[in-house]
Assembly symmetry: C2
Homo-oligomer: 157 residues x 2
Amino acid sequence: MKGNYFEHFAEGQFYRTGSRTLTEAEIMNFARSYDPQLIHTDPKAAAESHYGGIIASGLQTLAVTFLLFFDADIFGQAFEVGVGADELRWNKPVRPGDSLTAEVEVMEARPSRSMPHCGVVKTRIRTLNQNGETVMTLVSVDLVKRDPAALGAEAKA
Amino acid sequence: MKGNYFEHFAEGQFYRTGSRTLTEAEIMNFARSYDPQLIHTDPKAAAESHYGGIIASGLQTLAVTFLLFFDADIFGQAFEVGVGADELRWNKPVRPGDSLTAEVEVMEARPSRSMPHCGVVKTRIRTLNQNGETVMTLVSVDLVKRDPAALGAEAKA
């Protein structure tokens, strides 16, 4: 299995994901469907704004961050479902050509009360651009499957 | 101008947005690019899961909610930029054909310290399906432009 069952996780573990570059076309395509503001969709209007050019929708930065997170196989196939997120902040604009990567730190790992075959894993995620500047931060709360072998041993005990 | 300047907002104001229906094709298209898990992209695998069929990526539910929010012209052209979100929770799966609408309650409106031409508006957003069930909740934190007329009066005072 790619990824890690709940039992693997403990406070303080640290991961760094791969990276992904956002092109102007990708930024404008996403925004046309999901965040059609001129700052994301219209290079001329964006150039005249105080941002001085197109910036990515914050939702796209979030989506790319989750993609990087999952592609890193930290949870991988043991991922059950996302519960939510806390303290999401967009700290700095993401511009065409920016290459994003994410740093992930485990804050907490505890068994789930409502889903006995899962645990809750809270991670602090920081998304960085190619200059090492933080563009977004959040705390992700996810359900991660428990190891069936460990669950079986518990049932027998 | 469509929308409302910062001065308009006060705790307790309530808005209801229009609605939008998500098709299976839209759910699968979004997920293929931004959340390629089988539960979002593969009807057969999804049918065999405990969800019993395709469900939308939580990121898409978030994106559609923000679209509904902005289409409602609550901030409209006075919107400056999203600061972030707190307490985001995906409470219930969104399925193909579900029609989403959002309820928005103003929690706080205060002048911005770092952006004097703006105020910070915090809203509690609840996304509902056609059966009135809550599928997602969050607190959105946004910068909203102050009324230039009001700012001018302050400068003269």
